[in-house]
């Protein structure tokens, strides 16, 4: 049996670099593809900037975000206060800088909670089917049957206002779409021959799920989670605006627009600056998510 060896020898040298090199090559190609999309690159840049701003907030901010200075209240943007000051004389620029920490905290925490829960529920329901699928998906349907923001409000009202409770409430309402997606992907994957082949070897369900099903649907879940982040930011800001999320004096963008609303007609910068921050960041997450879908989603290949 030599024909097989000679058949492959021409391309064999390329594979010598091993698994690492192959992975790096694919990653590089994906990165080039991603950077070819200017909007997605812009989104990524803004998100990276947001992370840097959150990390280095104490060095970037010009004032303390919480200390009040009533003598300096409601001043328009100037050299001393770049985005002006609010009704208590606090520097809005510094508050927005520190507010990025709150936003990232909520986004990261919700995503970390929602991703694994949605993935686990969806994959288990899709893989086992039957009664398991029925029970898990009806529970998911219950959560999906109420509009997301209304359900979040109900949870926060029950749990009490506060940043921690806002995170819990948002997480409770944003896992069902992830579970749905993971289930749909799993239904497609589980009938594939490569799953039958590994079942035939006598692999346990846990092994089939974790090593064979999850690697196939994790990419679409990641894309969905990224697109979800914009919604999380808006919901968190909405809760803050309604007084149910972060509480004053925490410099949260939603809270800032809410208090600024009273002064909006004469002092536009109180609402505009945090509003622009929310717009820019949620838009960036959406653009980034779209770009990510273009390169990661196997259906587009």
């Amino acid at each position: 049996m030599t024909h097989g060896v000679s058949q492959g020898s021409g391309t064999m040298t390329r594979a010598r670099g091993g698994k690492g090199a192959v992975m790096l090559g694919r990653l590089g190609a994906a990165l080039r593809h991603f950077l070819g999309n200017p909007l997605a690159t812009l989104g990524l840049a803004v998100i990276l900037l947001l992370v840097l701003v959150a990390i280095f907030a104490p060095w970037i901010a010009t004032h303390d975000p919480i200390t009040q200075n009533l003598a300096n209240a409601l001043k328009p943007p100037s050299a001393a206060n770049w985005f002006g000051t609010d009704e208590l004389g606090r520097d809005i620029y510094s508050r927005i800088i520190y507010g990025s920490r709150v936003t990232l905290y909520i986004v990261a925490l919700v995503t970390v909670v929602v991703g694994p829960i949605g993935l686990a529920v969806g994959v288990v329901a899709g893989y086992f089917g039957g009664l398991t699928d029925g029970i898990l998906m009806r529970i998911t349907d219950i959560f999906l049957s109420v509009p997301g923001l209304v359900l979040t409000l109900a949870f926060v009202a029950a749990l009490g206002p506060g940043l921690g409770n806002a995170v819990i409430a948002i997480a409770l309402t944003s896992w069902p779409p992830i579970a749905r997606l993971a289930r749909a992907e799993t239904l497609m994957i589980r009938s594939a021959d490569y799953i039958a082949a590994v079942q035939l070897q006598g692999a346990s369900s846990l092994r089939v799920i974790t090593r064979h099903v999850v690697p196939m649907c994790i990419l679409s879940v990641i894309v969905r989670l990224t697109l979800n982040m914009a919604t999380i930011i808006l919901t968190a800001a909405g809760l803050g605006f309604l007084g149910l999320g972060a509480q004053p004096p925490t410099p949260e963008w939603g809270v800032m627009t809410s208090t600024g609303r009273e002064y909006m007609l004469d002092h536009w910068w109180l609402v505009t600056m945090p509003g622009l921050a929310i717009l820019l960041v949620s838009l960036s997450f959406n653009l980034f998510g779209d770009g990510l879908r273009d390169i990661l989603d196997p259906r587009n290949e």
């Binding site: 097989g4 492959g8 594979a15 091993g18 039958a196 590994v198 035939l200 070897q201 006598g202």
Partner: protein
């Protein structure tokens, strides 16, 4: 004792009024070391029988025994060591995100067999590939190379029985012969028992000593390959199949059209 014995195997899909019976009391036996062919047109239930033996379907009725022992209703590790399957489509039977090394070492890890890298490399050589193929992904392989990897994966735990579900039909004609020769060599070296499913009489005649002809979920005739070659088929359907395998024939098409009308 027979390596494989299938007795009165029946299978339904669907429930109640919508139920369709896809296998009707199928019975046959395969001796140890024998290569047995199942031929028939698309939808005649050939592949379904293999999936029943491999227990990818669990709701059949009848009796299937392997080496005298009844098969489990669900795939099990113990049975995984005795019977393995090669699928029709080498593009769908290898995990797209697993390298050849991962795909071949997975069965060894499932069964707790040691010296993984050693065995994987030896198996690759046995199916006519070089160990250099290890770090490659399926999309970096040709169809024939993929099917070799699929055969390697099935044989790496050294099962005695190999179920072949049209192993060459998705391949280029020039590659088909290579894979068939590989399968014949492996059977001789390892003393394997084969069931080969194909709609191609030539493929079956090349590899098998005995075969069953299937039509609409039933076995219409069981015969030796020698009998097939000498043209002493008794059933009209078998004769039609033999005619059809000789290529396009105007007279045959007319005859079939008259039969249908």
């Amino acid at each position: 004792m027979n390596a494989i014995s299938v007795d009165e195997l029946s299978l339904h899909f669907g429930h109640g009024a919508a139920a369709t019976q896809v296998l009707h009391d199928v019975s046959f036996t395969v001796a140890p070391g024998e290569a047995f062919g199942l031929v028939g047109e698309s939808g005649s239930g050939k592949s379904t029988i293999l999936r029943c033996i491999a227990n990818l379907y669990g709701h059949w009725s009848g009796t299937i025994t392997l080496d005298g022992r009844p098969v489990d209703r669900r795939p099990s590790r113990e049975q995984g060591r005795r019977v393995q399957m090669v699928f029709q489509d080498p593009y769908g039977s290898l995990h797209p995100r697993h390298t050849v090394n991962t795909a071949l070492s997975e069965p060894l890890r499932i069964h707790g067999i040691g010296k993984v890298q050693d065995r994987v490399e030896r198996m690759l050589v046995d199916v006519g590939l070089s160990p250099d193929f290890g770090p490659r992904y399926p999309h970096q392989l040709s169809g024939g190379q993929r099917q070799r990897v699929a055969i390697a994966r099935a044989l790496i735990t050294e099962p005695g029985i190999l179920l072949l579900d049209e192993p060459t039909s998705a391949l280029d004609v020039s590659v088909q012969a290579e894979i068939l020769n590989l399968l014949a060599d492996l059977r001789a070296q390892r003393d394997l028992t084969y069931i080969l499913v194909s709609h191609d009489l030539g493929v079956v005649a090349h590899l098998c000593s005995r075969l069953a002809v299937m039509q609409s979920g039933r076995i219409v005739e069981t015969m030796t390959t020698a009998a097939l070659m000498s043209g002493i088929a008794t059933e009209p359907y078998t004769r039609t199949l033999i005619q059809a395998s000789k290529g396009y024939d105007r007279a045959l098409v007319d005859e079939l059209a008259r039969g249908a009308a």
